[in-house]
């Protein structure tokens, strides 16, 4: 019961967050006039198409202009462009919530569609592959290293790795990615410069998979390196904190072997705060993915951001901001569930 209530609260909060960030995006768009510009371009596009189709039937250019103008006014009214931006707000929210994200100005999907949802959905899996793999590797690795360090507190190894972990906090992952490319791709030709597949794409499913894995290696290593250090450090601190608790002394006095004490009494108890930190680390992972994809020209949503910025494609940027928030909020919800499962105390 307690857990259900907590989950319900979390779910509502997160949905609220989604709405608020969406509203924020729309208000900023409206207040800066970008929204009008975006709608205007949609109208222009439709008018252009209309003119082309009408040009076949209406020969008289003056008559054509008149009809087009009338159609244009109808369109302006249809989209509500004759009213101030805030009157369109609910409509926009509803539209974006339905993932009806409009058309891109210049960017196209790989299959040639200009619909933003097509473009984004095509790239979504690529990003998810990258982020989840990196997150899984770094959490497992971080947990392992952190626990190892905690059992060797004060040793040279501990101090060394702790310092390296702390230092990695100061390393921008994208820059590390660049260094990787310069050394491993440019200098030694071990890995590709970027992209997701070779050109031409190797034939055969197995070959293609290996090709993608080969291309994904450096981005994944980059993303992992970005988070594994701070991870290990957080785990170490949490484990050490828990190891000072009285019940650990009790467990030792009970004659439990050290590995049991570590697994059952320390890590198990330290897990919820570690999960909390994983949640906090998620933002970093998402940001890291955008930058890493940019560096490695990985055709995910992050690289799309970069391309959209240079193509000045507002629609795509709005859509991406929304989808990233959606993904992030979803990931957080999963972790909240995990937290509730791990810690009996919050169930009340």
């Amino acid at each position: 019961m307690g857990a259900a209530r907590l989950l319900a609260i979390k779910g509502v909060t997160l949905f609220g967050v989604l709405l608020v960030s969406l509203l924020l995006v729309i208000v900023v768009l409206g207040a800066t006039g970008v929204s009008d510009r975006m709608m205007g371009s949609i109208v222009n596009e439709e008018v252009r198409e209309l003119r082309q189709s009408l040009a076949i039937t209406i020969r008289d250019p003056i008559e054509l202009e008149r009809v087009v103008l009338a159609e244009r006014e109808q369109l302006v009214e249809f989209y509500g462009l004759d009213n101030p931006w805030y009157t369109r707000l609910p409509d926009m929210v509803w539209r974006i919530l339905r993932l009806d994200l409009g058309s891109a100005r210049t960017l196209k999907s790989f299959s040639g569609s200009t619909r933003v949802s097509d473009i984004v959905l095509e790239r979504l899996p690529n990003t998810v592959i990258l982020v989840t793999t990196a997150l899984a590797i770094s959490s497992v690795l971080g947990l392992y290293i952190g626990v190892k360090l905690a059992t060797r507190v004060g040793t040279t190894l501990d101090r060394g790795v702790s310092y390296i972990s702390a230092a990695s906090y100061a390393l921008p992952s994208w820059w590390v990615g660049i260094i990787f490319i310069m050394i491993l791709s440019f200098q030694f030709h071990i890995f590709p410069f970027g992209g997701i597949t070779s050109a031409p794409v190797p034939s055969g499913f197995l070959n293609r998979t290996f090709d993608i894995m080969w291309h994904a290696t450096l981005p994944i290593i980059t993303l992992t390196l970005a988070s594994v250090g701070s991870w290990a450090y957080v785990v170490r601190t949490m484990v050490l904190n828990t190891a000072q608790e009285d019940f650990v002394t009790v467990a030792r006095a009970k004659g439990l072997p050290e590995n049991k004490i570590m697994n059952r009494h320390i890590i198990r108890v330290a897990a919820p705060p570690i999960v909390t930190n994983l949640v906090l680390g998620l933002t970093a992972s998402f940001g890291g993915a955008i930058l890493t994809e940019t560096v490695f020209n990985w055709p995910g949503m992050g690289r799309l951001y970069y391309d959209a910025i240079f193509a000045l494609d507002e629609n795509v940027i709005v859509a991406l901001t929304f989808i990233f928030t959606l993904l992030y909020v979803g990931a957080r919800f999963i972790l909240e569930v995990l937290y509730i499962l791990l810690d009996p105390r919050v169930r009340y």
């Binding site: 909060t13 997160l14 609220g16 967050v17 608020v20 960030s21 924020l24 995006v25 900023v28 768009l29 800066t32 970008v34 507190v153 004060g154 310092y163 702390a166 230092a167 906090y169 100061a170 390393l171 921008p172 994208w174 820059w175 660049i178 260094i179 490319i181 310069m182 440019f186 200098q187 410069f193 601190t237 050490l240 904190n241 190891a243 000072q244 906090l280 998620l282 933002t283 998402f286 940001g287 955008i290 930058l291 940019t294 560096v295 951001y305 970069y306 910025i309 240079f310 507002e314 940027i317 709005v318 991406l320 901001t321 990233f324 928030t325 992030y328 909020v329 957080r332």
Partner: protein, 478 residues
Amino acid sequence: MEERTRNLFKELLSSGSGKVGIAFIIALIIISLGVIIIYPPDFGLKYWSNPVLWADNPRAAPPAWTNLFSSYNQAETVIFETNIPTERIPGVSITKVLYTFNLNHKADEPPSFISMTVGNIKYNNRPPVLIVNIERPDGNKIELYRLIVPGPLPNEVTPFARFSETPFRIQLSGNHEVVSAVSNFLKQEFDVSISNQDLLLSGVDIAVFGTPQDDGKFDVLMGVYKIQVDAFLYNEDDSIGSVKFVAGGSVHGFMGTDTLGRDLSIGLLFGFPVALFIGLVASSITTVIGTSLGIISGYIGGKTDTSIQRAADIFTNIPLLPILIFLSFIVGPNLFIIILILIIFSWPGLTILIRSMVLQIRSGQLVESSITLGASRLRIMLRHIFPQTAPFVFAQMIFFTPSAILAEAALSFLGLGDPSLPTWGQILEYGFRNGGIYVGYWWWILPPGILIVITAMTFVLIALGMEPIINPRLKRGH
């Protein structure tokens, strides 16, 4: 309080990382202050982004010191500039003014280009004429170029001033007049005929600074080149302001140049104060807001608490970078807006942490005892609760500083940096966008990254040095 501050620093200085961190931050501050004093305030737009200023620098040239590691000696940029003639020979109607430069060329390659710039010429009736000659170590002399200063315009009154606002620059290497002069020279001296077109393609520099070989190639001719600019003035009062001759190298300065010829060391130095500014302003304001809201939320409780917590919930649940990208894209790249957004999205983390600390402090009896004594809410928050969170808050502030610096760098890297304030992130972005990593412009890509890392690391080191103060339990464990 003073005693605690003193202890804090004592503890900080007793740890190795603390010492290094403090030393680094002092260095960073000194460099930044120097830059603020020396650099013009509108450095970004007026200087850094002005290609004219950088025209005499070689493009994408590695640092000069790379010669030390290579047997092949690359040319360094040599600049001669003067406003005092070497010699002045007065004549009856013509005064001849000579400018002589001795270029000792020792590199295994010719200069990457040669150029001349003249500035601020004044004349009274006939426009002066300038002739550029070069005398090679083998004794041959080439007249490269002849510049006739533009004549008077209708209705213009004497004295006629030319090139006073912007100096006049001639890229000698790519000039047709120079090409034909060199072509003639080759024909006469070495009996080698190369068409003007081919010479333009292969570059005149190697012909000027080399000797043709049988295989059609040139050997670099080392030695002292005497470059002479002869100016013929037709009036006593005519004058030439300045003459500049540049033999471009393929290595440049301490940090090299980018593809616009900008000296990277100048841009990188400017990054110091900007980075510190971003880091410190964002972190201190965030800390002040985060801490006060945390204390208020935890102490006052009730509806105030709920609303602060809801707001915090929302802001922590929005991924920062996408929103940053979105806002700086829409609103336009502006450093202050970036800092503002960083603050708006960063206070909640601290607020949530401080709130839980305050709740813990409240669960003790200090707050209740203070209420019984009649202390006001403000007094309890400031005098009793804040001091207990202070060391933690201070550490958080230091720890947040590098995140702000890194966030700005990331945003700049995505092309959303504020162009009026060039940062390390922007230099990196320009390098990346121009394919620097695919052709190996390491001097362009590495240093800005390293500087970002060093600056961020400085604060991380200080934070590490403070850890035993913040988390005494860990200290006990040792």
